[in-house]
C-alpha cells in the first residue's frame, strides 16, 4: 500500500480553501449586498442608537411592559452572550417549583386576573432569548399593562393585534407577538 502523500495534502488544502474560505466569504458577500439588515443581526435603532435586536428577547419585569418568557441563561436572564435552556426534566421538582413561583409572580402583579396562565409565560425557552410570546400570553397581560400605563384596553389590544406575526401553518409555531417590538410601540404612544 503506497502512501500518496501529495494527493493527501493537496486534496486537503484544496478543500480547506474552497469550503473553509471561499464558501463562507461568498455567502458573506451575498448576504451583505442583498440582506444587510438581517446579516448584521436585525438591529432596532432608535435615535441613532441600537436598542436591541428584533430576534433577541430582553428581560422585562415592570408592570407597564409586556413580559417575555422566563429565561434560564446565566448569570442573569436574557444574557445574549451565552444562550442556554434550563434542561430541567419533566419530573424534576425544580421545574414544578419554578413554574409555580412564576405563576405566583404573574398573579401578584395582576391580582384581579384569575385566568389560567398560558404555558409559555411560565416555562423557560430553549435559547433563553426567545423574542416572542404567544398571542394568548400577550392577552393575559393586557389588563395589567393597560392599567399600569393608564391606557384604554382597546388601544393596547389593538397594538397586540397589529404586532401579531403570521405563522405558516399554526402548527409550525404558535400565533405570536414580538415582545420587544410591542413594548417599543407602547413607549412610542405613551413614553413612561
Amino acid at each position: 500500500m503506497n502512501l500518496n502523500l501529495r494527493a493527501l495534502l493537496s486534496t486537503f488544502l484544496f478543500l480547506v480553501f474552497t469550503t473553509g474560505l471561499a464558501y463562507p466569504l461568498l455567502v458573506t458577500a451575498i448576504a451583505q449586498i442583498f440582506f444587510p439588515f438581517q446579516a448584521n443581526g436585525s438591529l432596532i435603532v432608535n435615535d441613532g442608537k441600537a436598542v436591541g435586536s428584533r430576534l433577541i428577547g430582553q428581560n422585562f419585569s415592570s408592570e407597564g411592559y409586556f413580559w417575555g418568557r422566563p429565561s434560564a441563561t446565566a448569570p442573569y436572564p436574557y444574557n445574549a452572550g451565552l444562550s442556554g435552556g434550563s434542561n430541567l426534566g419533566p419530573l424534576n421538582p425544580a421545574l414544578v417549583q419554578s413554574v409555580n413561583s412564576r405563576i405566583h409572580m404573574l398573579q401578584a402583579a395582576d391580582p384581579g386576573n384569575r385566568a389560567p396562565v398560558p404555558v409559555d409565560l411560565a416555562t423557560s425557552s430553549a435559547s433563553g432569548l426567545d423574542p416572542h410570546i404567544s398571542l394568548s400570553a400577550a392577552r393575559y397581560q393586557l389588563g395589567r399593562v393597560a392599567r399600569a400605563r393608564g391606557m384604554p384596553l382597546e388601544v393596547v389590544d389593538g397594538l397586540i393585534a397589529a404586532h401579531q406575526e403570521p405563522s405558516l401553518f399554526s402548527a409550525t409555531g404558535e400565533a405570536r407577538v414580538n415582545v420587544l417590538e410591542l413594548n417599543l410601540a407602547l413607549d412610542d404612544i405613551k413614553p413612561r
Binding site: A31, Q32, Q38, Q58, D120, A122, E174, R176
Partner: protein, 599 residues
C-alpha cells in the same frame, strides 16, 4: 394531537418525496461517469493534475479505507491545532483564548464524525476563524466521507469480478464540490434572508429598555465564593442594562449543519438560537435539508444497481418508521406535563419548557425526531426537557443505528446492512444461500455486518454502565432519578451513533466525558465505515447471479415488512433493558396508574 400537526407532517413528507427522484438522479450524475462529468472533463483534468491525482487509477477496498482514514486523521489534527492556537490567530474579535486539550480533542473528533457533539458553547469558546476554517471544513468533509462510503458500496453491488471500488480522492472532491457546496450555498442565502446572521463584526453592545436586577455569589479577594453561617453561598445584588449580541459568520455554517447532517451549530443552543433559526419557515427548510440527501440517496442506490424499485423499498421502510416515530413524539409533547396541570396553567400549547414559541411543541418535536433519525443532532429545543416518551423516541431512533434516513451515505449503508441481515435470516429459514441484488451473501460479509452492528451497542452500553458507576460520571448528571440515567444513556447513544444531540443537562465538558465520548465517537464511526468498505470490496469480487424462481424478491411489501422487523428486533433486543431503566421508568412515574385507568 392537533390537526395542524398532521398537516405539517404531511406537507413535510410530500415536499420531501417530490425531491427524491430529481436529486437522486443528480447525485449519481455527479459521482458516476455521466454526460455532466464528461462536460466538466477539461476543468476536472486540470484540477486533478494540479492536485496530483490520477482519476483513472482506482483503489481496492484496503487502499480506499487507508486513504479515507488518513485523510480524516489529517483533518482532525488540523481542527485540533486550530482550536489550540486560536488565541494567536486572526479573526478573533472577542479575544477568545485557546480551547482546553480535552475539549479540543472531543470537538475535533465529534465534527469529523459528523456527530458535532458540542460540549462547548460556541459564542464564548470558538473564534470566527476556528468556526469557519476548522469546524466549517469538517462540516463538508464528514458528510462527503459518508457519500464516498455509500458510493463505494453501491459500486460493490453493481460491479462484478473486480477488486476496484473507486478513487477516494476523486470521490471526496466531487462530493464536496458538486453535491454539498451548491445545496449549502442556496440554503445559506435563504437562511440569511430569513434573519440568520452572516458577518465578521465584533459582538454588538446594546442598551436594553429595562435594567435587569439579579444576584451573584459574593467572592473574596482571591476569587473564592464566600459562604454564610448555614453553608449557603452568600449572594449580593447586581444589575445590568447592557446586552452583548453575538455576531459572526453563522448562516454559512448553519446551512452545512443541516444539509450535511452534521448538527454542529454556531451558538450554544444550536438551532434554537434566533440568529441561527429565526422563523418557522427557516425551521421547515432546516427539517427538509436534514432528510434531503439521505432520501435522494435511496433513489441513487436503485439507479446505480439498475433497479430503482430496490431504492423505493428502502425509502418506504424509512418513511414508515419515521412517520410512526414522529406521531408518537408529537403526540407526547402536545399532551403537556401532568405535574404542572394542577398549578393553574393553560397547557393547550403542549409542553413548552425548553422550546421556542416560533416553533411550538409540534415544530420542536418534529425537528427532534428528524434530527435524531437523520444523524444530524442539531436541536431546536432542549431534548432534556422533552416528556419521557418524546425523549424516548429520539433516543430510540439513534439506537437503532440511525438507519431511518440517517447521516449522508452512512444512513443508506446502515439500512443496506440491515437488508443483508434480513435476506440472511430469510435465507436460513428457507434453506437457501442468501443473496441480495445478485450477490451471494457469505461468511465474510456476515462477519463484517456483525461487527458494524455490534460495535455501537457495545460502546453505548459499556460506556453508560461504567459512567453510572464512577463518581466522575455521576457528577455530570443534572436531573435526579431515572432522568439522570437517561442523560448518560443519551450521551453515549448519541456519541457512538455519531448523532450529536444531547440531553444537555449533563455537564459533558469535563476531562472524563470529553475523553470517553471522543472514544465512543471515533470507534462508533470507523468501526462501522471500515467493515462497510470491506463488504464493498468483497461484493465487487463476486459473480453476478441471475434471478431465478427461488430468489427472494427484495422490492415488495413483504420485504419492506421483513426489513422493518429486522431493524426493530435487533434494536429492541439490544436496548430494551436500558430503556426500561430510563425513559419508561420515568413515563410511568409521570403518568401513574390512576391516570391510565381513567376513560
Amino acid at each position: 394531537m392537533t390537526s395542524d400537526a398532521f398537516v405539517l407532517l404531511a406537507f413535510f413528507l410530500a415536499v420531501l418525496l417530490l425531491t427524491v427522484k430529481p436529486l437522486g438522479v443528480f447525485i449519481v450524475t455527479a459521482m458516476e461517469p455521466s454526460r455532466l462529468l464528461a462536460a466538466l472533463e477539461p476543468m476536472e483534468s486540470r484540477l486533478f493534475g494540479l492536485l496530483g491525482l490520477d482519476p483513472r487509477k482506482e483503489m481496492n477496498w484496503r487502499e480506499y479505507a487507508y486513504a479515507l482514514v488518513l485523510f480524516n486523521s489529517i483533518a482532525a489534527l488540523w481542527v485540533y491545532l486550530l482550536q489550540r492556537w486560536q488565541g494567536s490567530l486572526p479573526l478573533n474579535p472577542q479575544g477568545l483564548s485557546a480551547v482546553s486539550p480535552d475539549s479540543s480533542l472531543n470537538t475535533a473528533i465529534s465534527f469529523l464524525t459528523a456527530a458535532c457533539w458540542q460540549a462547548y458553547a460556541g459564542e464564548v469558546t470558538m473564534s470566527y476563524l476556528t468556526q469557519m476554517m476548522g469546524l466549517g471544513v469538517l462540516n463538508f468533509i464528514a458528510p462527503a466521507t459518508g457519500l464516498c462510503v455509500a458510493f463505494a458500496l453501491l459500486r460493490g453491488f453493481s460491479r462484478h469480478e473486480t477488486s476496484l471500488i473507486g478513487n477516494f480522492w476523486v470521490d471526496m472532491v466531487r462530493s464536496c464540490l458538486y453535491v454539498l457546496l451548491p445545496l449549502s450555498l442556496l440554503l445559506a442565502v435563504f437562511l440569511v434572508q430569513q434573519g440568520a446572521i452572516q458577518n465578521f463584526h465584533p459582538y454588538a453592545e446594546v442598551q436594553t429598555l429595562e435594567t435587569t436586577r439579579y444576584e451573584v455569589p459574593t467572592v473574596d479577594a482571591s476569587g473564592l465564593a464566600l459562604k454564610d453561617a448555614q453553608g449557603q453561598p452568600r449572594m449580593e445584588p447586581a444589575s445590568t442594562r447592557r446586552q452583548s449580541l453575538p455576531m459572526g459568520p453563522a448562516a454559512s455554517m448553519d446551512a452545512t449543519k443541516v444539509m450535511g447532517n452534521n448538527g454542529g451549530g454556531f451558538f450554544n443552543v444550536n438551532a434554537a438560537h434566533p440568529f441561527e433559526n429565526p422563523t418557522p419557515l427557516s425551521n421547515l427548510a432546516g427539517m427538509l435539508a436534514m432528510f434531503l440527501i439521505p432520501a435522494a440517496l435511496c433513489y441513487s442506490f436503485g439507479s446505480v444497481v439498475g433497479d430503482t424499485r430496490q431504492g423505493w423499498a428502502l425509502l418506504a421502510t424509512m418513511v414508515f418508521m419515521f412517520a410512526g416515530s414522529a406521531l408518537v413524539a408529537v403526540w407526547a409533547e402536545q399532551a403537556g406535563n401532568p405535574l404542572l396541570a394542577g398549578l393553574g396553567l393553560d397547557q393547550t400549547a403542549g409542553n413548552l419548557e425548553g422550546k421556542e414559541i416560533r416553533f411550538g411543541s409540534a415544530g420542536s418535536s418534529l425537528w427532534g425526531v428528524i434530527t435524531t433519525a437523520s444523524g444530524t443532532g442539531g436541536s431546536n429545543a432542549m431534548h432534556d426537557s422533552f416528556t419521557p416518551l418524546g425523549g424516548f423516541v429520539c433516543l430510540w431512533l439513534m439506537q437503532v443505528g440511525e438507519v431511518v434516513f440517517g447521516g449522508i451515505g452512512v444512513g443508506l449503508v446502515g439500512m443496506l446492512v440491515f437488508a443483508i441481515v434480513a435476506v440472511f435470516i430469510s435465507g436460513l429459514m428457507i434453506g437457501r444461500t442468501p443473496e441480495y441484488l445478485g450477490k451471494k451473501i457469505e461468511s465474510f460479509e456476515m462477519k463484517m455486518v456483525s461487527i458494524s452492528i455490534l460495535v455501537t451497542p457495545l460502546l453505548v452500553l459499556v460506556g453508560t454502565a461504567v459512567s453510572v458507576l464512577l463518581p466522575e460520571g455521576k457528577m455530570g448528571m443534572l436531573n435526579p432519578g431515572a432522568h439522570g440515567f437517561s442523560e448518560v444513556l443519551y450521551a453515549f447513544s448519541s456519541a457512538a451513533n455519531n448523532n450529536g444531540s444531547a440531553f444537555a443537562g449533563l455537564s459533558a465538558n469535563t476531562p472524563y466525558y470529553n475523553t470517553m465520548l471522543a472514544v465512543a465517537l471515533w470507534f462508533g464511526r470507523f468501526f462501522a465505515i471500515i467493515p462497510y468498505l470491506a463488504i464493498a470490496g468483497a461484493l465487487a469480487k463476486k459473480h453476478r447471479l441471475e434471478t431465478s424462481e427461488g430468489t427472494l424478491p427484495t422490492h415488495g411489501v413483504l420485504f419492506v415488512m421483513l426489513l422493518m422487523a429486522t431493524v426493530l428486533i435487533v434494536g429492541a433486543l439490544t436496548y430494551f433493558p436500558s430503556l426500561a431503566l430510563g425513559p419508561f421508568a420515568e413515563h410511568f412515574a409521570l403518568w401513574p396508574q390512576t391516570q391510565w385507568s381513567k376513560p
